[in-house]
C-alpha cells in the first residue's frame, strides 16, 4: 500500500492542478491550460489570464500546504505529541496579530503586511521556544504554546471586535486563512522560503524516528537532543511563518496532514514527512478550488474549506488504516 500511495499521491496532485486550473469564471480548454502551464508567457489571452490569476494561487496552495504540514509534523515529533501544530507555537497567532495590528492600528500599506506577519510569527515562535527551553521534549512546549496562544488570541479578539460586525466577520474569515488575494509576488516569497526550508525538513527526517523513542534512547543512539530540538522548532516556525504571512493561518492542516500520512504510510518518518507534505498540498489545493467553485457565487475561503475537507480526509484515513493494519 505504501508504494501504491507514493505513486498515487503525486498523480492525484497533478490531477488536482489540472482541475484547479480549469475551475472558475473563465472557461479554459485543455490547450489553454497546457499553454498556461508551459514555461514562459502565454500569447493566448485565456491562457495568460490563467497564468496571471490562477497559477499563483495554485502554486501558493501547493507550497503552503506542504510547508504548513511539514511544520506541524516536525512539532508533533519534537513535542512527542500528536496535538502539536504551528498554531500551537504561537506562530499563527503571532503572525495574525502582527498583520491585524499593522493594518488596523498602524495603517501599514498592504506590501508591508506580509513582512510584518513574518516578523510577528518568528518573534512569537522564538519567545515561546525561549520560555519553554527547559522542557522542550516534555509537555512544556505545548503548555507554553497554549498560554501564549490564549493571550495573543485575546488581543486579536480585542482588535477584531473593535469595529462592527461586518469588520469582525471579514477579519474572522481572513484569520482562518484564505488564498484569495495571493499575488505572483506572494508566491515568489513562499517559493523562496520553501526552496531552502523544504529540503532541510526532508533532510531532518532521519533524525525524527529516534526522537520518538524517548529522550534517553535518542541520546544513547547518538543524537544531541539539546541541539536538535531547538533547531527543529526553529525550522518548523520558519516553515509556518511565510504561510501565515501570505495566506493567514491555514488552521487545521498542520495538525492533520501528519496524522493522515502516518495512517496511510505507516511508521518511518523519512516516508511520513514527504507523505505529509504531499497530503498537505493536495488537501489545501482541493479545498481552495472546491471552495471557490462548488457553490458559486459563494466562495468559501481556503481556511474554512480546509477545515471541512481536512476533517473528512482525516476521518477517511483513520477508517482506512483501522480496517487493516497498515500494510
Amino acid at each position: 500500500m505504501r508504494r501504491v500511495l507514493l505513486i498515487l499521491a503525486p498523480a492525484a496532485c497533478a490531477a488536482l492542478v489540472w482541475w484547479a486550473l480549469g475551475q472558475g469564471l473563465t472557461e479554459a480548454s485543455a490547450a489553454e491550460r497546457l499553454d498556461a502551464l508551459w514555461p514562459g508567457a502565454s500569447a493566448d489571452p485565456v491562457a495568460a489570464r490563467l497564468e496571471a490569476l490562477r497559477l499563483p494561487r495554485i502554486g501558493a496552495a501547493l507550497l503552503a500546504g506542504a510547508m504548513i504540514s511539514a511544520s506541524g509534523l516536525l512539532l508533533q515529533v519534537v513535542a512527542r505529541n500528536g496535538l502539536a501544530d504551528p498554531g500551537l507555537l504561537g506562530v499563527s497567532q503571532g503572525g495574525v496579530l502582527a498583520i491585524l495590528a499593522g493594518a488596523a492600528l498602524f495603517d501599514l500599506p498592504r506590501a508591508a503586511l506580509v513582512p510584518a506577519g513574518l516578523f510577528g510569527a518568528m518573534a512569537t515562535a522564538a519567545a515561546v521556544l525561549l520560555a519553554a527551553r527547559r522542557s522542550l521534549a516534555g509537555g512544556g512546549l505545548i503548555l507554553v504554546g497554549i498560554a501564549v496562544n490564549l493571550l495573543l488570541g485575546s488581543v486579536t479578539e480585542l482588535i477584531m471586535t473593535s469595529g462592527g460586525m461586518a469588520q469582525y466577520a471579514r477579519l474572522a474569515v481572513w484569520s482562518r486563512g484564505s488564498l484569495a488575494g495571493v499575488s505572483a509576488a506572494d508566491l515568489a516569497l513562499l517559493a523562496a522560503w520553501a526552496a531552502v526550508l523544504l529540503p532541510l525538513a526532508l533532510l531532518s527526517g532521519r533524525w525524527l524516528d529516534p526522537l520518538l523513542l524517548g529522550d534517553d534512547t535518542a541520546r544513547s543512539l547518538g543524537i544531541e537532543t539539546r541541539l536538535l530540538l531547538p533547531v527543529l522548532v526553529l525550522l518548523a516556525a520558519a516553515l509556518a511563518a511565510p504561510v501565515v504571512a501570505v495566506c493567514g493561518p491555514v488552521s487545521f492542516l498542520g495538525l492533520i496532514a501528519g496524522h493522515v500520512a502516518r495512517r496511510l504510510t505507516g511508521g518511518r518518518m523519512t516516508v511520513v514527512l514527504p507523505g505529509a507534505m504531499l497530503t498537505g498540498s493536495c488537501v489545501l489545493l482541493a479545498a481552495d478550488t472546491a471552495g471557490r467553485s462548488l457553490m458559486p457565487p459563494v466562495a468559501v475561503p481556503a481556511g474554512i474549506a480546509t477545515s471541512v475537507g481536512g476533517f473528512l480526509v482525516f476521518v477517511f484515513a483513520a477508517r482506512l488504516s483501522q480496517r487493516g493494519p497498515a500494510a
Binding site: 505529541n81 500528536g82 496535538l83 520560555a131 519553554a132 527547559r134 522542557s135 516534555g138 512544556g140 503548555l143 507554553v144 497554549i146 498560554a147 501564549v148 496562544n149 490564549l150 493571550l151 495573543l152 488570541g153 485575546s154 488581543v155 479578539e157 480585542l158 471586535t161 462592527g164 460586525m165 461586518a166 469582525y168 466577520a169 471579514r170 474572522a172 474569515v173 482562518r176 488552521s251 487545521f252 495538525l255 492533520i256 496524522h259 459563494v298 468559501v300 475561503p301 481556511g303 474554512i304 477545515s307 471541512v308 476533517f311 482525516f314 476521518v315 483513520a318 477508517r319 483501522q322
Partner: protein, 334 residues
C-alpha cells in the same frame, strides 16, 4: 493532600470571596456606586440614576457571570472526573463549539430567536460531543489515550468554529448582535435566556452533586467500579449528559467562554481534593468568582469603555497560565 476536615472552612472562605467580589462588581465601574446605595437599590427599587445602573446594568451582568461561571466550572469538573482526563472541558471537547454553531445555524436558517435557540444548542452540543467521542475511538492506539480525546475534541471544535465563521460571513448584518455573543460578552446576554436556562442548569448541578460519591468509584477504573457493583456505563453517560446540559446553559446565555471550564476544576481539586461533593461545591464558588473578577476587569480596565468579558477571561487566563509555567520552569520542575 488536602485535609477533609478543613473543607468546610475552605468552602466558607470561597463563599466569602465570591460575595466580596460580587460587592466589588456592583460598586466599581465607570461610576463608583457606594455599597450602601447598591443595597438600598436592591432592597427598594427606585428609578434614580445610580439605582437604575445597578438594577438594569450591573445586577444582570453579575447574575449572568455567576451563573455561567458556575455552570462551566461544574461541567468541566464532571467531565474531567468521569472521563478520567484532566485535559477535557466543555470547550476542549467541542461542546461549546457545537452549541455555538447550532445557535448560529438556527438563527440563519430557521430564524430562531431567544429561548427557542436552546433546543438546537443542546442538539448541536450533543452531536459535537458524540462526534468527538466517535472520532477519538477511531484514532485510538497512537499513544497516550487521554490525548486521543483532546485531539478529537480540538478537531471537532475547529470544524465547528470554521463553519460558524463561514455562516456569519455570509450575512454579517443579520448577525449584528451575535458577534459579541460569539466572543463571550456578558453585557449582551439575551435577558430571556437566563430564566429559561437557570432551571435545567440548577437541576443538572444538583444531579451531579448527588452523583459525586458514585462517580468517585469510577476514578478507580471501570473494571474496579464494575466489580463494586456499579453500572459504570450508565453513570458515565448520565454524568456526561448533565454536564452537557450545564455547558449548553452557559453557552446559550453568554456564548462560548473557554479556559474557565478547563482550569477552575484543577484549582478546586488543588484546594479541596479529588473526592466527594467538596471539590464540586468548590467549582460552584470558584467558577463564579473567576468570571465575576473577569467582568470587573472588563468594565474597569478601559473604563468607560466596556471590554468583552470572554476576551478578558482569555487575557487573564493566558497571562496567569504563562506566569505559572515560567515560575515552574525556573524552579526546574518540568
Amino acid at each position: 493532600m488536602t485535609d477533609p476536615a478543613r473543607h468546610p472552612f475552605t468552602l466558607a472562605l470561597l463563599a466569602v470571596l465570591c460575595v466580596g467580589l460580587a460587592a466589588v462588581h456592583q460598586s466599581f465601574g465607570a461610576v463608583w456606586i457606594p455599597p450602601g446605595t447598591v443595597l438600598s437599590a436592591l432592597a427598594a427599587p427606585s428609578d434614580g440614576f445610580l439605582e437604575t445602573v445597578v438594577l438594569r446594568q450591573r445586577l444582570p451582568r453579575l447574575e449572568v457571570a455567576a451563573f455561567a461561571g458556575a455552570a462551566l466550572a461544574v461541567a468541566g469538573f464532571a467531565l474531567q472526573k468521569v472521563l478520567r482526563n484532566p485535559l477535557v472541558s466543555p470547550s476542549t471537547l467541542g461542546i461549546s463549539g457545537g452549541a455555538a454553531l447550532a445557535v448560529v445555524a438556527g438563527q440563519f436558517f430557521l430564524a430562531l430567536r431567544g429561548g427557542s435557540l436552546l433546543l438546537p444548542a443542546t442538539a448541536g452540543a450533543g452531536t459535537a460531543l458524540m462526534a468527538t467521542l466517535a472520532l477519538s475511538r477511531l484514532i485510538a492506539g497512537q499513544g497516550d489515550p487521554r490525548l486521543d480525546l483532546v485531539l478529537a475534541g480540538s478537531m471537532v471544535s475547529m470544524l465547528c468554529g470554521a463553519l460558524t465563521t463561514f455562516l456569519v460571513s455570509l450575512d454579517p448584518q443579520a448577525f449584528d448582535g451575535l458577534m459579541r455573543w460569539l466572543v463571550g460578552d456578558i453585557g449582551l446576554q439575551d435577558s430571556r435566556a437566563l430564566p429559561l436556562t437557570a432551571g435545567p442548569a440548577a437541576a443538572a448541578a444538583a444531579g451531579l452533586l448527588a452523583l459525586s460519591r458514585t462517580t468517585d468509584l469510577l476514578a478507580a477504573g471501570d473494571d474496579t467500579a464494575r466489580a463494586l457493583g456499579l453500572a459504570a456505563g450508565a453513570v458515565t453517560w448520565m454524568t456526561v449528559a448533565l454536564a452537557v446540559v450545564l455547558a449548553v446553559a452557559a453557552v446559550a446565555t453568554v456564548g462560548p467562554i473557554g479556559f474557565l471550564g478547563l482550569v477552575v476544576p484543577h484549582m478546586a481539586r488543588l484546594l479541596l481534593g479529588e473526592a466527594g461533593p467538596a471539590p464540586l461545591a468548590g467549582c460552584l464558588l470558584l467558577g463564579p468568582a473567576m468570571l465575576i473578577l473577569a467582568d470587573i476587569l472588563a468594565r474597569c480596565l478601559m473604563a468607560p469603555q466596556v471590554m468583552i468579558t470572554g476576551t478578558v477571561m482569555g487575557l487573564i487566563g493566558g497571562a496567569a497560565f504563562l506566569a505559572l509555567l515560567l515560575r515552574l520552569g525556573r524552579r526546574g520542575l518540568e
